[in-house]
């Protein structure tokens, strides 16, 4: 089941629970607008290269649309559609006056020079500037893009519409970006964990926590949970996995990762097999890496009492339905709502 099918299935389940009129349900599934544009730039070697940029604007009934811009070689239109739709539901559930959107360019940012990325971003902005805006649709960084990308969009957009710092979020602090944005998704994991435990009359202090994935989201989540008294007993990333039943010192681990570009080799714990980290004994399991890691095969072996979904769809939608996974233990982390 792909991302769009899963998202539509979930929406339809929700629509049934809400008793939504079927015409309204159908209308909510059709995106407000989808745009696909050709972006041609001169490469540094003088030859021309053409890329396809796109933006799916799902719904603006509650306010300006909001969502990231990805640069990735394999852009899956269905996934982008799904993510735009999810942005609509996220902003609505969080009750902030925004709608949902998502977009990107089909390119491999690693294959493009800094100059080429700038040119590509500016051309893409020229092509969509009339369809985004402070009151219309406000992009943000996503996979393969960053504050520098937002700065280029801001500058190019401003050539057409005057100085408009509010046209993107996730821009550099010096250009008016928000303090705290870096930690925002990880902090959302903290809030979700606190909220879930509270329903069970518990607190974070003393909980034994496993974090799969130690990128921006996982490392901030580990740090913030640790500050609240949580005991991070195991952590993994693509380089390896670390376990320390007495609790890993996150500050030391962060320094180690900064130097070694991975958790592998960290002296404050024992090395374990990354493939089995989801099955480690703990109170709370936080999958913060890829989607679909919890599935029919391993669901029954998970020992955690609570699962906090920090990645997009870490639990295979089919697993939700058919396996013995304890659904009552799971809450979907909203993460950085204002992405």
């Amino acid at each position: 089941m792909n991302a769009l099918a899963a998202t539509n299935r979930n929406f339809k389940l929700a629509a049934r629970l809400l008793g939504l009129d079927s015409k309204l349900e159908k209308s909510l599934l059709i995106p407000f607008r989808e745009i696909k544009v050709e972006c041609t730039i001169p490469k540094d070697d003088g030859t021309l290269a053409s890329f396809v940029g796109f933006r799916v604007q799902h719904d603006n009934a509650r306010g300006p649309m909001k969502g990231g811009i990805r640069y990735h070689p394999e852009v899956d239109p269905d996934e982008v559609n799904a993510l735009a739709q999810l942005m609509t539901w996220k902003t609505a559930v969080a009750n902030i006056p925004y709608g949902g959107a998502k977009g990107g360019i089909g390119c491999n940012p690693g294959d493009l020079s800094f100059s080429e990325l700038e040119r590509l971003t500016r051309v893409f902005t020229q092509k969509i500037h009339d369809l985004i805006g402070v009151h219309t649709d406000v992009p943000a960084p996503d996979m393969g893009t960053n504050p520098q990308t937002m700065a280029w969009i801001l500058d190019e957009y401003s050539k057409f519409h005057g100085y408009s710092p509010a046209v993107v979020t996730g821009k550099p602090i010096d250009l008016g970006g928000s303090l705290g944005r870096d930690a925002a998704t990880g902090r959302g994991v903290l809030f979700a964990t606190e909220a879930l435990l509270k329903e069970y009359g518990k607190g974070i202090a003393g909980q034994r926590i496993v974090v799969q994935g130690f990128g921006n989201v996982g490392s901030w989540a580990a740090q913030l949970l640790s500050e609240q008294g949580g005991k991070i007993v195991a952590v993994s990333d693509i380089t390896g996995a670390i376990k320390n039943s007495s609790g890993i010192d996150i500050t030391s681990l962060l320094n180690h990762v900064k130097e070694s570009r991975g958790v592998k080799g960290f002296s404050g714990g024992d090395s374990i097999d990354p493939n089995s980290i989801l099955l480690e004994d703990c109170d709370i399991l936080i999958p913060a890496a890829l989607g679909g890691v919890i599935n029919r095969d391993n669901a029954k072996d998970i020992k955690a009492k609570f699962i906090i979904e920090a990645a997009n769809h870490p639990t295979d939608p089919e697993a939700d339905e058919v396996s013995g996974i304890r659904l009552e233990h799971k809450i979907r982390a909203a993460g950085s709502i204002i992405k």
Copy 2:
């Protein structure tokens, strides 16, 4: 082979003959912009209905983009892409300063009342008005739309941009539409036929002509060819087929069709099997109905010396390649270039 695959194949053949740079070839295949919008209207019964409207703008290097808007329940995105691309090549080959586009709405115009069609057209125009325009992209009628549709677009567009009669072609004569537009595609068939015969040192007078399809294109073509001395020896439509080796009186036939809504029953000729009309003995065969009617199976049995393609792709692209069809006899009728 679908419409887009066939169009791309033909373009690539042409690119190879022209020695086009491969990057330029790739860039020319990517459309300039594609837009998909949700159009929600109140139906006459008070319920809401949502439709998907779209516009593919293929290329504007040579001037404003040009192309029809279709209302049809089964909109095939690939076909629309192909038709937008063909508009680019048509305007370029005819050397007029326009580019190519195509669009439409996924709806069954027969299921909608006059009021609903007006509301749908106005909502669609509201959604795309910033992306079309006199100097940008100029729509025209196509399958399921007509001068009335253009009048609604013109009126709605003018609310946003001021009185702009040039934003659509194919509008009613009273609103500034062009005289002669009705006959334009059929007249193109006449011009193509004249041009082809001229290469063989021949003229239209005395040629025995078979016309498959007697709609707007076929009936105008028959009338105009007949005025130039051509002898229309057989004609078919969905009601039947008529043959008269001495030449059918087209004026009488047009009167008959106006009354009986089809060629069937016309007294000025003998009724024949419509399925075999392509194989009738004649000098010139004009398929003016559906695509793909000439294929591997029947190509070798065609007796006409010349084929004038008035429909879109009447000859199956595969037939072009593998069968014994006499390609040197065929010329593609440009038809109503300024569609």
Copy 3:
């Protein structure tokens, strides 16, 4: 003396007191701009109907103009002019940075279906959208219009100018409307009453109050004054009048009115003749129904010590001048200034 004549007379009196230059006085009486537009819509039965919409923009020297939009069959241009002018004086006296305007459509909203009202409102908005705006002129609901009307204006305006929730006030809370707007005019009556009493060294607690009219303004005023300790001794509406010298229980009365659509039949008081309610013995009389109810004939028989004018012009301007009405007791309630 009609509404405009009375308003002009009052303005001229004020101008004389302020020593205004006569050219400035004349200039202030001429509205900044008046617009009259034809609004043609298809009715539900398919026929066309034409209505006249208008907007009087009186003055913008102090900021964007502000004022309601009425739907009423008998639109009196003089009255609208007067009300636009009064908006200028109201915003100026309250020292908020706005000017004054007023408008409407000559129609009977009761004769139009929900769909027809929507179409009429959208067409009217299309006709005036360039003349209103966040920084220019901000409409609000008035007689015959409501938050739904404002939502249609907002949506239609936004098609032309981008998402602009600030272009109307009085919109639904979900679209960004202000909390408390419903009670605002009645609360203004409370504030005016408090201010007046304070000048006489008194408070609301214990005052015996009569409220003529129990619509939005009168019922909120009664409720709020009652919450401050006021004793509502008599209340009337078009269905009848109620008296209770010990004080009417307003919460019970509101429940009764919700069920019975009028005060008539309320068990918490005695039924009296509505025609004589103005003459009831009380401390404070609040006419909150029609204009001109206090006039030469009845002014001398009023027993209230204070009159709070909650309706527009409840005191006949001529009565002001000639009768023995105790002007020192009267203060004009500003009501919902940001209408």
Copy 4:
């Protein structure tokens, strides 16, 4: 019967003859838009003065609206409405793609200095610039305005919308004004006369013609009719009247008028009583001065065989109905259609 009542009566008569739907008839009588604006300027003496400017835009169904701008102390709103409506019918009957409008400012241009007229015109333009335009509404000179006025409008409008010479007609030749505009209304009288006579198998040569009024219209009409062989036997203006049964030499008369500012004292004819000029014996009578000069009292004494109405409504509408005036002899001169 005032101008508006007469215009409406005539329109309703026409509507009945055309079998117009009653809703459409009602809709055509409601102007598209009416605007009234306050224009405040500093006078040369430093004091402020406020004037009311207005524009009635009657109908734009056939193209941009067209009509004059008057500066006159007694602006009669009904008359302006009537004239705007007449512009719609005039452009429609002449089958040119324009609608109808009319406007003006309530001021006495004779009381204003050149500078004050410039300031007033520029302020008026600032107030209506968004509602007129090349594709919307194109003003022209009228009573109390002239090419200089149009030049100011053009210049002020261009500050807001870029260089737009087409926004007014009747501008100075050097700014792109049309050659021949000066004579256009008089030439219209010639064309109308020719057309009327042709129906009776006659030509202009030898006709004995009386012209009441020798302003721009009357003098050009006399000159052009004379050039076609017409014999101008009597002419009047406010200074007096001249008669010459052998035909007045129009070139000499024009020179006399240029020097003496009136026909009085012209030696090439006998002085007669201006009050009886309408009753002079002649073939063609051309009233080119005021409205209503032909009425119940004098209609029966008119000796002319044909009346050409060069002024607006020279024949009292009531006279049309009740007196013995020979209607078949009368044709309304279209005059300067592109006013």
Copy 5:
């Protein structure tokens, strides 16, 4: 060394200290945009007069540009360039999100009537309105201009862009001007003095202060320093100089100046030679009049321990380098940063 040369020299010194890339240094010295426009107005006597208006926009990398508009007969382009550049550094050093600009008109405001100044300001605004704006460049009053000038700019600008009070600062309080702006530059002198003394472990109380120049800046500085316990021992303006070793009563002096239009004749101190005021014995010297007053000749004779530069460049740049002036005692007063 003129103003631009001095400014460039200082910038280059700073660039060297910051280790700026030489290309960036060069780029920062080139203004973003310079505009020069012809402004032609009718004078009160009816003749035309042409003036040159200009605006130098130095840099907008940190936000909208900000800077005064001067009306002065001898506009020195180099000085304006220098002042625009200084605005960039001032807003950057104060870390507020603005850039730098400066402009003016070459005219003698004393030779123009109130009406002529209004017309000139409005024409200038018409010529530059597309290049300034809330998010682009925000003018302010400067030499020869005042809040009235800003009100005219605001009003004229708003005709083109809608009501835009934020397009100028320094406008009248009633139009939204900022409270405290009048005293802002003088208050900046107070802050600078406090900051400088603090570095030396001192406070303002008891300091003996000399103020050269008693205009807007000097008089506010004297008043505010006096309120903080400073002892103003000498003050000068163009009418004369006053000395009082026990401290001048600033409130009395302000009253005297209001009546006598100068410090001359003030009874609360002794009259001294204005030419030697810089050399008076004191702790703090505040030159608040012209530039270049401290130079090679008098620098060594200055007895003050601290110099607060309230005027622009009161110290000759060459004196900075070659004389014995105690640079460590000097701090440049930021003055009214948001000029």
Copy 6:
């Protein structure tokens, strides 16, 4: 005497002859608007480079301004001002509805790569796009720019204002450039020569003509004059000079120049000293190279009967006044007016 001084002197002489009002004369000398902008681009090596671009718009009273854009390292502001002014006089004298402008960028186009030139041109266009336009100011190629430069301006401008081919002249034919533009200046020389000779009752046939300079202007002039029967007896360029009393075969010479990049070595004539070509015996001398070549020193030795000035100012203005040059023989060639 520099270019601006000479231009101003000539204008003042003309103003005196026309009896121009002195205020109008002064106003005509002040340019309408001058703009100077910073253009920063990334060079191919990744470093930044800043250039100063400018545009002088002299006068638009007669229509949109018109004038070239130069890329040259030493931009002399006075010269550009002079050339902008000359454009105003040229369009006025030729009585076409345009004004005058001129602009450029201070850069050495020879030092910039094709990509850098494109980036620089696009940045410059971004900086001035709001100040040029079809109805405002229409650039053209000039020294250091060409049709490719115009294509870049057109494309960049169209991003902001929609497809606008009319915003530049001198664009490539394929983008709508004018046929014949290449030869236009040379053809102007032909017309000027014909007009001058006609005044003397002569024709071109048989005239002996010397052309100094064989670039675009000189070679086209030679070719066109030769086609009309003129005998080109001597030609020079920077490579050398050729003489042939029987007349040079221009077609052969053009082929030689195409191959050898100069006239040097042409076999169809004798080589002579280029320095003395102005003094060759002939009927008509056409200096088509630099300015100031005819001066006090050589004026008296010129043997030609007529001088046609094809270059800008080939005759030193001072020489005009003081030397014995036969002014009656000279006429200034208008050249390519619509530059």
